[in-house]
Every structure is written in C-alpha cells, then in structure tokens.
C-alpha cells in the first residue's frame, strides 16, 4: 500500500479548510434535507460530520428454508432466491431486515485527509460483522476489495468516541482528489472537497449522495462541465 505523490500540484487539506468545507456541505445538506450534521467534541472542540440512515432489505425466503436457522438462511438465499422466485412468490415468506447505519467523517491530521468511519447494526442491536458489511458492498467495488481487504476496510477504534467502527482507509485518497481539484482550480471552479470525496468513497459502503449536491449554488457557475470532468475520473454520484 503506498501513498503516492499525485504529481505537480499536490493539494493538502488543512484542518481549518476541512472544517470550512464541512460547514458548506452541512448547509447544502440542510437545504436538500439529506440529514448530515456536525458534532463537536466537548473537551477539545474538534468535531466530525455525522449521518444516520436506515436500510431496508427485503428477503424472500422460499418455504423450504423457513424452518432453518438464520445463519444458514443467508448462505442459501444467495443461490436460491433467483431460481425459485416464481415459486416463492406464491408460497414464500418475505422477511424485512432493517439495518441502522451510522456514518462519520473525521479529519486525519496524520494523513491530511478526511476519513470515513461507519458502523451498522440490526434493530435488535446486533452489530454487523465485517463479512456482512463486505457482502453488502456494491458489486462493482467488490472486485477491488477482494484483492486486499485489509488495506481498504478495517475495524478500528473511533478516535473521539473510543468505540469500534469500520474505516475506509485514507491512503488512496490523494490519488484521485488532487488531480480533480487542481484541474477545477485551473478552470476557476469551486468544488467542495467533501462533496467530491464523499460521492466517490461513500457508495463503496452504501452511502449515496443525492444528485442535488452537484448542482451549484445560484451565484456560481452552472456549467455542466463540472459534472463531466468528475465523470472522467471515474467518480459516481449515485
């Protein structure tokens, strides 16, 4: 794993600037009702972005699997659901799973980048394991993660709350951020670092940013090129 220098213009995100981007991001989130808020720590005044969201998953359980225990069910569903959809629609049972996700964005002073912390649990409080989280990762990201899972998502202690969270590793951030940001500055366009970064890494762990973040504020340039240039670098705003 390496933190490669991104070339001529290496954009370094200072902590003050991180807070400013977060403030701007929160304002936009409030405008569109996306639920992000800023949490300040009581002792040292540092803080982080926070969002909670619920994911509802419907699982069709074919009748012959109804009696088996929960663990077996999850394995077998992957192979049986698609095949027996027609049968199960008639006689099967629908199990609704509600998962509570918590996302935090903290600043890493060691790497000078934002870091995404997240955790998930079922409504009864049972936390999802790393395996269960990986299984819920969007299919097209799974290939990259399978190569070296320990370099990408790991369980770590939240530096402010002291509790276990999963973390998306910050090391690769500079590779894509610097090039996009330096080209945007060349064209004198304002891009919010947090929006850019979160729209790229978020979908990997089930966090999507509504397209409304991409719309620029009325007093700024409404040129659609900004969305396209993000597209060139393989970014997605789902």
């Amino acid at each position: 794993m390496s933190c490669s220098m991104a070339g001529e213009e290496d954009f370094v995100l200072e902590e003050k600037r991180f807070k400013q981007y977060c403030e701007e991001f929160i304002k936009r989130s409030q405008q569109i009702g996306d639920g992000w808020e800023w949490r300040t720590s009581k002792d040292l005044g540092d803080g982080y972005l926070s969002k909670t969201h619920y994911q509802v998953r419907n699982r069709k359980i074919p009748p012959d699997l109804k009696e088996k225990n929960h663990d077996n069910c999850e394995q077998m569903l992957c192979t049986h659901v698609e095949e027996s959809l027609d049968d199960s629609q008639a006689a099967g049972v629908c199990a609704t799973e509600v998962i509570h996700y918590e996302y935090h964005v903290l600043y890493s002073s060691s790497y000078r980048v934002p870091v995404l912390y997240f955790r998930a649990c079922f409504l009864d409080g049972r936390p999802l394991t790393l395996d269960e989280i990986w299984k819920s990762v969007h299919a097209c990201y799974q290939a990259c993660l399978l190569e070296g899972p320990w370099d990408t998502i790991t369980q770590q202690e939240h530096p402010i709350l002291g509790q276990p969270f999963f973390v998306l590793h910050p090391c690769r951030t500079n590779e894509f951020i610097s090039s996009v940001l330096s080209s945007s500055r060349k064209h004198d366009r304002h891009i919010n670092y947090i929006t850019l970064w979160l729209s790229t890494v978020g979908p990997v762990v089930g966090l999507n940013l509504p397209m409304s973040y991409a719309k620029l504020a009325p007093e700024q340039d409404t040129n659609d090129d900004s969305v396209e240039s993000r597209g060139e670098h393989g970014l997605r705003i789902a």
């Binding site: 720590s41 060691s110 790497y111 369980q155 530096p159």
Partner: protein, 275 residues
C-alpha cells in the same frame, strides 16, 4: 552512545508478571486454575496469550468457547493497545502480579475490536507504523522499504527478536542531516477518565529558533491539565514504559528511544498515588 542503546534494550525486554483467572460465570467441566505469565510490555495481548487460551480451553466444553477477551476490574482491555500501555494506564500503582480476568462469552461489541487471527494484529501493527512514518517522514522511508522489510518488523515483534526488528526499525528513526529531527512526533496521550480514548495532534520536535522541544512543552501544548503550576501539588503522573521521564527530556530523544515498536510514544496520564 552505548547508554542510549541500552535504553532500546530495556524498553524491548520489559515484562509484567500477570495472573490470568477465568471469569467465574464461564461454564467449566473442572475447576480452572489461574495461569501465570510474564507479558512483554511492547507486545499485544492477543499475540502472546495462546498458552492462556489453551490452558482454559482444556477445562471447558467446545460449545462454550468463542472469541477470547480480557478484562481488568470490570474494564474490557483493548488488545490493540500495547500491553505496557494498558498496565500503566489501569494498574501501574497496584500490587503485582497484574490480575486479568479471561472471558470466552458475551464479547463486548461496543468496546472491543474483534481479533479473529494474527493477521488482524499484523495489519493493525503495520497501520500504526505507517501512520507514524507519515508524521515523521511524509511516508518516504516506509514506502521506500520492500515488503520483506515490513515483514521483518512484524516477525521481529512476533518472535521477540530485538536485533531482527531494529535492523529495519533504525531506518525509521533516522532523519536528513540538514534537519535536527522528525517532521512531527508520533505520540498519543491517554487518560482513563476521559471518553476520548487518546489525544493526538501535530507537534514539531524543533522550535522555530532551532531549540529542541521537551516533553513538558508537548504536554503544555496538547494536554495542559497534566502539568500543574509549580506552587500547586502535582496530582498526576506522566508515565511511559512504567517510568516518569523528566519533563525536560527532549521529545525527539524520547521518540527515538522510548517509542513502542509501532513507532508511537504512548503516554499515560494517571492519578498520582496519595500515600
């Protein structure tokens, strides 16, 4: 200097006599005897307790055993903290041996990271080393090393091989001749009384005028409550590896000689005993 190299050895070979007792509510087929072990201060609980696990599993039924975890006086012990740090923070002013309770059920999901294999410990250890080098050298030294050098750091720790470890680690302790020290000092300050697990900030070892910053300078800047005014009573102890270094010690020297193998200075602020 020969004296300074001795410090590296003293740090590496520090041990804590520990007594492991099985939690009373664990279901056993026979009575479980306590297990005594000298724990290396610089290592991690889950790396050095295979014998402890085997000892207690002998008296338990297979279905009663899931992931092992450790607790001291009701506090779950974080295996990802070095053993010496855990002891200094929670038990340094109590009588030896250190009494740790062993659990095999009811893993405290909200407090402890899981540790399903040695790979998890290795990944954590290497992540700390990499973060330390990001602070010291903008990651240049760690990135220039080959995978086998990284492996050697881990194997040195795992197998308690001082020479093998330091053959590579010495490179992480060097700095360009034109500088007087590292870019920033990798450190974390722990207090058992706070919700925040530790304080970590950017701190330069050299002042703008070229003077060496001291341990006292670091504390004043990052955790001023740890240092009370001269006329007041010193209510706390500042502890690293079981000792209280003088506050006048240059932080650059401390970083080079008293860091843990993960290259971080783990500093405990604990209440001073009143006797």
């Amino acid at each position: 200097m020969t004296d300074d190299k001795d410090v590296l050895r003293d740090v590496w070979f520090g041990r804590i006599p520990t007594c492991f007792t099985l939690y009373q509510d664990e279901v056993t087929e026979r009575e479980a005897e306590p297990y005594y072990l000298l724990l290396p201060r610089i290592s991690y609980l889950t790396l050095v307790t295979d014998k402890v696990k085997k000892h207690f599993q002998k008296v338990m039924r297979q279905e009663e055993v899931s992931e092992i975890w450790f607790e001291y006086e009701g506090t779950p012990l974080k295996w990802h903290y070095p053993i010496g740090l855990l002891f200094d923070l929670h038990a340094s002013n109590t009588a030896l041996p250190w009494s740790i309770t062993v659990h095999f059920k009811n893993f405290p999901e909200k407090d402890l990271l899981h540790c399903h294999s040695k790979d998890v410990i290795e990944a954590h250890f290497m992540a700390c080393i990499k973060e330390a080098d990001a602070l010291k050298h903008k990651s240049q030294v760690i990135n220039e090393m080959q995978k086998k050098d990284h492996k050697q750091l881990w194997m040195g720790l795992q197998n308690d091989k001082f020479e093998q470890f330091w053959a590579i680690n010495r490179k992480l302790m060097e700095y360009p001749p034109e500088d007087s020290g590292f870019r920033y000092i990798p450190f974390r300050i722990y207090q058992a009384t706070t919700e925040r697990p530790f304080i970590q900030k950017l701190f330069r070892p050299i002042a703008s005028g070229g003077e060496l910053h001291t341990l006292g300078d670091l504390l004043k800047d990052v955790c001023p409550s740890a240092i009370t005014p001269e006329d007041g009573e010193q209510k706390t102890q500042v502890m690293i590896h079981g000792i209280e270094p003088m506050l006048e010690t240059p932080i650059q020297w401390l970083s080079e000689h008293m860091s843990y193998p993960d290259n971080f200075l783990h500093i405990s602020i604990i209440p001073r005993p009143t006797d």
